[in-house]
């Protein structure tokens, strides 16, 4: 049984000006210890997808339909109290901006103690503090700083603390939403390595959410490419790297500088993501797609798969599952 199983999940934002389908019919699954990457431009709904896994879609978002199963139990049916006990203990979430994700008026220690004692009520504050110290140590933060306030730490250190908080109760699944975008490049690598290392040590599954495909390619086993709330492509990172199917994925890959290909011409995808309030009819990518065809404008492609490892949402590939022979592009 997979650790995480998402089935035809729909998340809507019900704004006063209309409804936005932030996540549309998303289905995938994740096993213990696996790493999954969620790639996509900002506004592609990757964070929403991530948050909906712990049922924290921000107002006015609502999970319209679908199932999110953690170890088989559908968390969308759980009462809030049980949901709370899952958050942080089974599933941990690391946020994009470490500067703002700690309570500015609470000491670092307090964050840990609070977390531990919420989930393990019969731990004494002292023990909890002890555990916090050791974790900080393991993250390379001096234990005596446990009584400092967040604003006294640098961004990198705060992200370490966030990671520390995430792994304190060694959860089965850690989600990291753009964990490094707010940090400068050198720190980024350090943080990612740290995450990697911890993951190996504790054997957690990891979902890495990022707009930066390159990071995901090098860190994740599986990759999901999201566009305008839809899964466009879903494959193992090797597969994807070798043969990206969807024109959008290809576009993304072309925009990554690659040392191996010396004579690579970098190219960005023309145009910009659609207005989610009124997405284009048919395939949502066709306005920007170099291979756009008649049917793309009319009807919406489905996610079709070949083998269990590679799925794509594009008319360039035959509806008949099995053959992944590309149709001649002239046709």
């Amino acid at each position: 049984m997979p650790l995480l199983e998402i089935e035809s999940l729909n998340v809507d934002y019900r704004a006063s000006r209309g409804t936005v389908h932030a996540v549309e019919d998303a289905s995938f699954s994740l096993n213990k210890g696996e790493t999954l990457g969620l790639a996509g431009e900002s506004g592609s709904g990757k964070s929403t997808l991530g948050l909906s896994i712990i049922r924290l879609v921000p107002y006015p978002g609502v999970i319209a339909s679908g199932h999110v199963r953690i170890e088989g139990t559908d968390i969308l049916e759980l009462p809030e109290s049980e949901m709370q006990s899952i958050r942080g203990r089974k599933v941990a979430y690391i946020f994009q901006d470490p500067m703002t994700s700690l309570n500015p008026v609470k000491r670092i220690g307090a964050h840990f103690v609070e977390l531990i004692r919420t989930h393990e009520p019969n731990t004494s504050a002292a023990d909890a503090l002890g555990r916090a110290k050791t974790i900080l140590e393991s993250l390379g933060i001096l234990a005596e700083r446990i009584n400092d306030y967040p604003h006294q730490f640098s961004g990198g250190m705060r992200q370490r603390i966030m990671i520390g908080l995430a792994i304190t109760l060694n959860p089965d699944l850690v989600m990291a939403d753009e964990p490094t975008t707010a940090l400068d490049v050198i720190v980024q690598q350090k943080i990612l390595d740290l995450l990697e290392g911890l993951r190996k040590v504790y054997g957690m599954a990891l979902i890495l959410i990022s707009h930066d495909l390159s990071i995901i390619l090098e860190r994740c086993d599986k990759i999901i490419v999201l566009y305008a709330g839809q899964i466009f492509e879903y494959a193992s990172s090797k597969e994807l790297h070798r043969a990206p199917w969807h024109p959008y994925t290809q576009g993304l890959l072309h925009s990554i500088p690659n040392i191996e290909l010396s004579d690579q011409k970098l190219s960005a995808i023309p145009g910009s993501p659609p207005d989610m309030l009124s997405p284009p009819k048919g395939c949502r990518f066709w306005p920007r797609c170099p291979y756009a065809m008649e049917e793309c404008r009319v009807e919406e492609p489905e996610l079709i798969g070949h083998e269990q490892s590679h799925f794509v949402r594009c008319f360039l590939y035959d509806k008949k599952a099995g053959s992944h022979i590309e149709r001649n592009r002239e046709g």
Binding site: A15, S16, R17, Y59, P60
Partner: protein, 295 residues
Amino acid sequence: MKKTKTKLRSILSTLMPGLSSLSKRGPSGWMVLVGIAIVSSIIVMTAIAPWISPYSPILSRVGPIRAAPSLQFPLGTNQLGQDMLSRILCGGSLMLQVSALSVLICFLIGVPIGLFASYAGGMVDSTTSLVIDAVYAFPGLVIAIAIAAMLGPGVINTALSIAVVYIPSYFRIVRSQVLSIKELTYVEAARAVGAKWYTILFRYVFPNVIPSIVVVVTINFADAVLTAAGLTFIGLGVAKNIPDWGWDLTDGRQYLGSGAWWIITFPGIMIVLLALGFTLIGEGLSEMLNPKLQR
């Protein structure tokens, strides 16, 4: 509920195009709409009062003294046997005049001072701030009372005494805005290309201040109404031969004990409504204009 909403919307949109767009702005939009509805209907009522009021509002003994509401006198009569309904219909004009005047004065004085002082900065700014804060840090009503007593009764005098109290809040809001806008890049840019200070002030800064001023104006309207009522309550109202909710409210008090609740209740409600109308507009706007609250 829904029906009435749509009905109201259609009415308003025919009344004034653009209002309907407000109703799309969620609850805050609706607050503004309702506020506008209340205020405008009161204004209209007061305007047409002379034609629709059944009796002269100041003619005494048109009926028995302190008569309870009846068919002949729907809102009863007061201690002089004047018809309360007529007085309610006409009684708004004074409040409206006073509040409108005081807002005008506040605006004409507070905004320019705020703009210039804070734009000039330095000594000018700090000294004006000191003075303004001195006034601001003080219970406005006391100042209003003192000045009202000094100037003596009268619409303009009352308006003035109220204005003095609220000028500081204009100054402060304008100042805070200007100080932030001053540093914005496009203002910097304008300065860099050598735009004159007044161009910057009025072309670039002022337009950005307006929204927050609008909020203050509406809130000020509400406060002016309340303060005017308060001054009358303390005995600094205008002469008694003009129908005024404030006076009726104040008088009504001494007839409560003998059970004449209608003398005080209706003018009280009217004042609350008027203030409420303005407050709704103000709060709605401020919520709409507050970027932090936009979702």
